[in-house]
C-alpha cells in the first residue's frame, strides 16, 4: 500500500510528535531500569562473595551483674549501591522460653565499596533472682533469634532471620554445696563442687556463708579458685560456727568475687 498526503508542513504533526515522544520516553525508562537492575544484580553477587563475618565471641562478667557476650560484625559492601537502614536485632531466651537479653544495632548505612566493623555486645543479667541466674550453674541450650533488615539499591528492602539453638556452658555448672556432720570442736565441713563448662577461666574467690534458719550468719569460708574451662572443682573446708548458732534448717549462700565484681550464686538449703 502506498499513497500521498498534503500536510500543512513537512514537520510531523503535534499529536504524532507527542505519541513519538511518549514512546521514546517509555523506551528510555525501560533501558534505564534494565541497566539499574543489572548493576543491582552485579552488586548483589559481589556482596555474596564477601559475606558478613562474625568475630569470635568473648564472655566475661561485668561490674553491673551481667554476663557480657561481645564480638564484632564485619560488613563489606563491594557493590555500587549503599546498604541503607541496616538494623540487626538479637534476642536470647533460655530453654524454657524465658527472655534473657537482647541486642540491637542500627539503623546505620554502609556506602558502596566500603566496609565497616560493628561491635556486638549482649548483656545477660545473672542476678540471684533474675531469669539469667541459671546461666551460672546450668549448662543449657539457648534459643537465639536474629533479625536483620536493610535496603539495597534504594528500591530493594531485604530481611534475614535466623533461629538457632546454641549450647551454653555454665561457669559453675552443677554447683553443689554439701555439709558433713558437725565436729566436736564446733566446725562444719562444707564441700563445694562444680565444673567450669564456660569458655573462660573462673579466677577469683568463692565466699560461702552458713546461715541459720533465722537467717543469722553462723560462719563462712573462702576458697581461692583458678578453674580453667572444662576443669572440675571439688574442695572441702571446715567452717567455724559462732557459739550457739545452729545451721540446722538453714541455708548455704555463696558468691563469686573478683576485684572488680561480685556475682551471687544460688543458695542451697542445709539438709
Amino acid at each position: 500500500m502506498s499513497g500521498q498526503i498534503y500536510p500543512s508542513s513537512r514537520r510531523p504533526p503535534p499529536l504524532y510528535r507527542l505519541a513519538r515522544a511518549l514512546r521514546r520516553a517509555s523506551l528510555f525508562v525501560l533501558v534505564l531500569l534494565i541497566l539499574f537492575a543489572a548493576t543491582v544484580v552485579y552488586s548483589t553477587v559481589e556482596i555474596r562473595q564477601s559475606p558478613p563475618q562474625v568475630g569470635s565471641f568473648s564472655v566475661e562478667f561485668q561490674t553491673n551483674g551481667t554476663l557480657a557476650l561481645t564480638s564484632t560484625l564485619t560488613l563489606s559492601n563491594p557493590g555500587f549501591y549503599p546498604i541503607q537502614a541496616f538494623t540487626l536485632d538479637v534476642r536470647v531466651v533460655n530453654g524454657t522460653g524465658v527472655f534473657l537479653g537482647a541486642f540491637g544495632l542500627g539503623p546505620t548505612e554502609l556506602g558502596g565499596s566500603a566496609s565497616n566493623v560493628y561491635p556486638i555486645a549482649l548483656y545477660l543479667p545473672v542476678s540471684e533472682t533474675g531469669p539469667g541466674a541459671s546461666l551460672l550453674v546450668d549448662s543449657q541450650y539457648l534459643a537465639l533469634s536474629v533479625w536483620g533488615n536493610a535496603t539495597f539499591g534504594y528500591l530493594f528492602p531485604a530481611g534475614l532471620s535466623i533461629e538457632n539453638n546454641r549450647h551454653w556452658g555454665a561457669p559453675f555448672s552443677n554447683l553443689a554445696y554439701s555439709v558433713s556432720n558437725l565436729t566436736l570442736n564446733g566446725t562444719l565441713p562444707v564441700t563445694i563442687a562444680f565444673q567450669n563448662a564456660a569458655s573462660f577461666t573462673d579466677a577469683g574467690t568463692l565466699q560461702l556463708a552458713v546461715l541459720s534458719a533465722a537467717g543469722i550468719v553462723c560462719g563462712g569460708a573462702t576458697w581461692t579458685v583458678q578453674v580453667d574451662p572444662g576443669q572440675q572443682f571439688l574442695e572441702t573446708q571446715p567452717v567455724t560456727l559462732s557459739p550457739g548458732c545452729s545451721p540446722l534448717g538453714g541455708t548455704l549462700t555463696g558468691a563469686y568475687v573478683t576485684p572488680s565484681f561480685t556475682v551471687p550464686l544460688p543458695s542451697e538449703a542445709i539438709k
Binding site: L155, F156, A158
Partner: protein, 162 residues
Amino acid sequence: MSTPSPPPPRLTYQVPSLGWRITVAALRLIPLLLLLVGLPVAALTFLQSNSIALPLSIVAVTLAGAIIVALSTARYIAKPTSAFGPLSIASSAFVLAYLYYIVLRSTYVLAVPGSDFTVRLTYTDFMLCLMIVPALSLAAGIVTTLEDARVPRERLPYDYPP
C-alpha cells in the same frame, strides 16, 4: 500583482504489504517468546526444582507472556491501520495489569531448605517504577488513537517513509 502561494508539501509513504508484515511479525515472535515466556518459566522451574517456593505461578506467567506476545504481534501487523492505537492501549493496559499482579506478590520469602535461615526480599518499589514504562506506552496509544480519529493516515508518511 500578488505572488501565488507555494504548493502544499506532498509527502508520500510506502507501507509494507500485509504478507511482509506478517512475516516480520512471525520473526519477532521468536525473541519475544524467549524473553517473555521462556526465560521467566525457566527461572521459575529452576527455583521449583530446588525446592524453593515460587512467588508467581508458572501457568500465570506463561499465559501472561503469551498474551503480551500476541498483542505485540497484532499491534505490529496493524501498525498502518487505525487499529494500531487501540491495540497499543490494550497491550499496554495488559502489561500494566500483569505488573500489578506481580506487585501484589512482590515480597518474596525464601526459607532455605535444611537451614534456620529465612530471607525476605521486597521488590515492590522496583515493580512500581517499571510500571512507568507501560503507562507511558498507554498514553502514546491514546494519543495515536486520537490522531488516527482526527486525521486518518496522517502519521503514515512518518512511520513508513518511501
